[in-house]
């Protein structure tokens, strides 16, 4: 990694990286515009005062009507625009689920390809300091089941910027799940406006030979910590962040599992029917003979997210529970 080209990068937080991606793409393409509730105020920062930089007409504060503005985004997308909408908390996607599942995801197919739907829905998910049951959910697993939707789960500022730029340029509906607890994570982010991260390419954050840890979104850094602590015990873990769940980079994942023979999946959403279930089914099907033992899924408990900090902490996975799962996986617990 070329660390010596400092002028080409800028040290940005995750929310600033999202903001930069939005700004760059709006400057590059006049058909990109933003809608959402209180996005000029921007509770987490990504769109704060962006209208002052790109023009009032391109950053639209909407009434509190998710169905209306996501539906309107579908209408705009099929008539030549590239809307990027924000759902203030991913949990609120429930109130505009029809616009996502029955309209955005299906309209290209239902019309026999007469339209494309270049629409991005940004939605912050995940737990953050006692936000409780209706403001903490990871919704990505639900949508994996719906054909026609692409899904990004950036785990750091560089991917947040690069994936968002790709998502905006993409001709299909993309659900872009930011993680609330990552907004203030920071990193050196490329400044070249041509920089993008393609959808469908996993990143291997750490190479290793004993066990593959597949982790997403808010869990990636915990997985890396877990891998570090495993290394101290002589267990060499490979950490893979798929970065997008749809399309999914199965090649990278399968290659890793073929090498290590062991897999732990890690997510912050609920266990049952989660991302890990699909990954397990896929990997056991495609790499059966390479697996030395069952896949272990690490995920949140199957319960609504509790308010109490004690209970909230007990609900989510962390570096310790990941490391423990990996140890169990390699039979060294």
């Amino acid at each position: 990694m070329a660390e010596d080209k400092a002028p080409e990068t800028q040290f940005l937080t995750y929310f600033e990286a999202v903001r930069q991606a939005l700004k760059e793409e709006m400057e590059l393409d006049p058909s990109v515009f933003l809608m959402g509730e209180d996005i000029r105020y921007s509770i987490f920062g990504p769109t704060k005062d962006l209208h002052l930089e790109v023009g009032e007409g391109r950053v639209l504060d909407t009434p509190i009507t998710e169905s209306a503005f996501v539906g309107a985004a579908v209408g705009a997308a099929i008539t030549g625009m590239r809307p990027v909408v924000e759902i203030m908390f991913a949990d609120f996607m429930t109130v505009c689920m029809d616009q996502i599942i029955n309209q955005a995801a299906k309209i290209r197919f239902m019309t026999g390809g007469q339209v494309k739907v270049p629409l991005v829905i940004r939605a912050p998910g995940g737990m953050l300091s006692s936000s409780a049951a209706q403001h903490s959910q990871c919704m990505e697993a639900l949508f994996m089941h719906i054909p026609g939707l692409k899904i990004c789960v950036p785990a750091g500022p560089v991917d947040a910027k690069g994936l968002l730029k790709s998502a905006i340029r993409d001709d299909d509906p993309v659900l872009f799940f930011e993680h609330k607890a990552l907004y203030f994570a920071s990193d050196e982010v490329p400044l070249d406006p041509r920089f993008t991260v393609p959808l469908g390419q996993a990143s291997v954050l750490r190479e290793g030979g004993d066990v593959t840890i597949f982790a997403i979104s808010g869990m990636v850094s915990s997985a890396v910590s877990a891998a570090n602590s495993l290394a101290r015990d002589g267990i060499s873990a490979e950490v893979i962040d798929p970065r997008t769940l749809v399309p999914l980079d199965t090649d990278t994942l399968l290659a890793s599992v073929r090498k290590t023979g062991r897999l732990v999946t890690v997510e912050e959403g609920c266990l049952t029917g989660g991302v890990g279930a699909e990954i397990t089914a896929l990997v056991t099907s495609e790499a059966w003979s390479d697996l030395k033992g069952p896949v272990i899924r690490v995920a949140a408990k199957d319960q609504p997210v509790p308010f109490s900090p004690v209970l909230e902490a007990a609900c989510a996975p962390n570096a310790q529970t990941i490391a423990a799962a990996a140890r169990e996986c390699v039979g060294k617990n």
Binding site: A72, M81, P83
Partner: protein, 325 residues
């Protein structure tokens, strides 16, 4: 009655008669099992709304339609052959057989799609209108929906958004007095749905939806208003659905007397009578239009009949535009 030019009246007549002829053929073919599925919703009796509204539009204006959408699309200028092929599930259909009646769409004529979800279009139309504004065009978006749909949350959200942003939308409520088997009096506490415009400080107008000229005039006013940037209008057209809610509907929730009255309001006959009374046209000219249309529909049927079924091979490009998996 204000002055209408003959060309317009003939166009309205032809449109209404095309819808009628097309749908009667669909009804016949559905009865014969030639059309896949049972969720085929016909608008026989309601033709004046589609015809009157779409006559007020330009080709590049948009319409967003409902489950009962054949008439809207015909009135907007779609070809009956590709429509018939779609209803038959053929590859030559507008949606390559993927959509069928409930999803029939012809983007080339501005038809952004029928929809199987009641009320879905009410939030899509404002988006098309917003898109027009952002692209700097003066296109207008019309949103058709029923009395039943006027209770859905999307009605409220769509009208609120359009009013707040003064978007160029005309919301056209086809009030046929029923949401499926449920009479209007059981699904809402008001009679005139146009009263709901009050909630958005928007003009609300109710017209006789069986009088195509009245519909046309009101729609023209609302469309021009929208085009000039004065914002949306709620236009209610009171009409009647002659047939069942869908082709297999027993329709036992409406009395024989009620049904017997429908044809008294026939929008096509009404226009016919008016034209002849006012000497605007002759019986033979109307006769000629009808036979032209009947022939067109026959050709459409033949086209659909002869067209190929889609190949069962997948076309991944229909799911993701790049064909990704």
């Amino acid at each position: 009655m204000p002055e209408f030019d003959e060309e317009l009246i003939m166009r309205l007549y032809k449109t209404m008669y095309t819808i009628r002829s097309f749908e009667e053929k669909v009804s016949e073919q559905a009865g014969m099992g030639m059309i896949p599925g049972f969720m085929i919703h016909l608008s026989v009796g309601q033709e004046a709304v589609a015809a009157g509204v779409c006559a007020a539009l330009r080709q590049d204006d948009y319409i967003v339609s409902t489950h009962r959408g054949h008439g809207h699309l015909i009135a907007k200028g779609a070809s009956t052959d590709r429509m018939m092929a779609e209803l038959r599930g053929k590859e030559t259909g507008y949606c390559r057989g993927r959509g069928g009646s409930m999803h029939i769409t012809s983007v080339e004529v501005g038809g952004l799609g029928a929809n199987g979800i009641v009320g879905a279009g009410l939030v899509i139309a404002p988006g098309a209108a917003l898109s027009a504004r952002l692209r700097g065009t003066d296109q207008v978006a019309v949103c058709f929906f029923g009395d039943g749909a006027s209770n859905q949350g999307t009605f409220h959200e769509g009208l609120n958004l359009a009013a707040t942003w003064k978007l160029p939308v005309v919301f056209v409520c086809e009030n046929n007095g029923y949401g499926f088997s449920t009479p209007q009096s059981s699904h809402q506490s008001i009679g005139r749905i146009s009263r709901r415009a009050e909630a958005y400080d928007m003009p609300g107008i109710t017209v006789n939806g069986d009088d195509v000229l009245e519909v046309y005039l009101a729609a023209s006013w609302a469309v021009e208003r929208a085009r000039e940037g004065a914002g949306p209008t709620l236009l209610e057209a009171v009409t009647r659905r002659w047939l069942g809610h869908y082709v297999d509907d027993e329709d036992d929730y409406r009395s024989a007397e009620e049904k017997a009255e429908f044809t008294l309001h026939d929008p096509i006959e009404q226009l016919e009578r008016r034209c002849i009374e006012q000497g605007l046209t002759s019986t033979s000219q109307l006769e000629r239009i009808r036979s032209e249309v009947d022939e067109e529909i026959e050709r459409a049927c033949a086209f659909a009949e002869e067209s190929e079924e889609p190949s069962p091979e997948d076309d991944p490009g229909l799911i993701f535009s790049g064909g990704e998996r």
